[in-house]
Amino acid sequence: MGVIEVGRLCVKVAGREAGRKCIVVRIIDKNFVEITGPKELTGVRRRRANVKHLVPLPIKLDISEGASDEEVLEALKSTAIYEELVREAKSRGGGAS
């Protein structure tokens, strides 16, 4: 599985959410993981994703497997990347779409 692990910040590179950042919350099998934006922050809804559609970034959150969107958001708020995610959401005109 390499660097795709629970808590890893990734960029989606395929589909309607391409270019948006997300957090891995569960490893389903060697091809699929469950991710979340969370949606209200980056617009990526909680969903299953192929790891081929994700590019890992050098930030890893300290969250438990299957963490809820609220827990992920709390963990994000204590990191430096949170400000950047908020800026990106604003430049898109709100996170959800």
Binding site: V13, A18, I59
Partner: protein, 104 residues
């Protein structure tokens, strides 16, 4: 004779089709130009998930029927979009974020 609605620019807007009339004459009918398929702006391959047709047809279609619903949908093919997103993630993401919280 009624005025030609396309005026002197008719040849630029329409294609001519030779038609043999019942009286034996050959006349030219002016028809819609055939539209080319949408191509990827980077690699030039035909785009999937796009429609082509005269404006009268395209105007009746929903937006989602005309191009894929993703960033650069109807402009880049999915492979070129992926290349673009990966290069963006590497150049912006990896340099801006300190590697201190990095890969274990």
């Amino acid at each position: 004779m009624p005025e030609d609605p396309f005026g002197p620019r008719k040849r630029l807007k329409k294609r001519r089709v030779a038609v043999r009339t019942p009286g034996g004459r050959t006349v030219y009918h002016y028809r819609h130009k055939i539209h080319g398929k949408a191509k990827c702006a980077r690699c030039g391959r035909p785009l999937t998930g796009t429609r082509t047709g005269p404006r009268s047809v395209m105007a009746k279609l929903a937006k989602s029927e005309k191009r894929p619903n993703r960033p650069y949908g109807g402009y880049l093919c999915s492979k070129c979009l992926r290349d673009l997103m990966i290069s963006r993630a590497i150049s912006a993401g990896w340099s801006a974020m300190s590697p201190a919280g990095g890969l274990a």
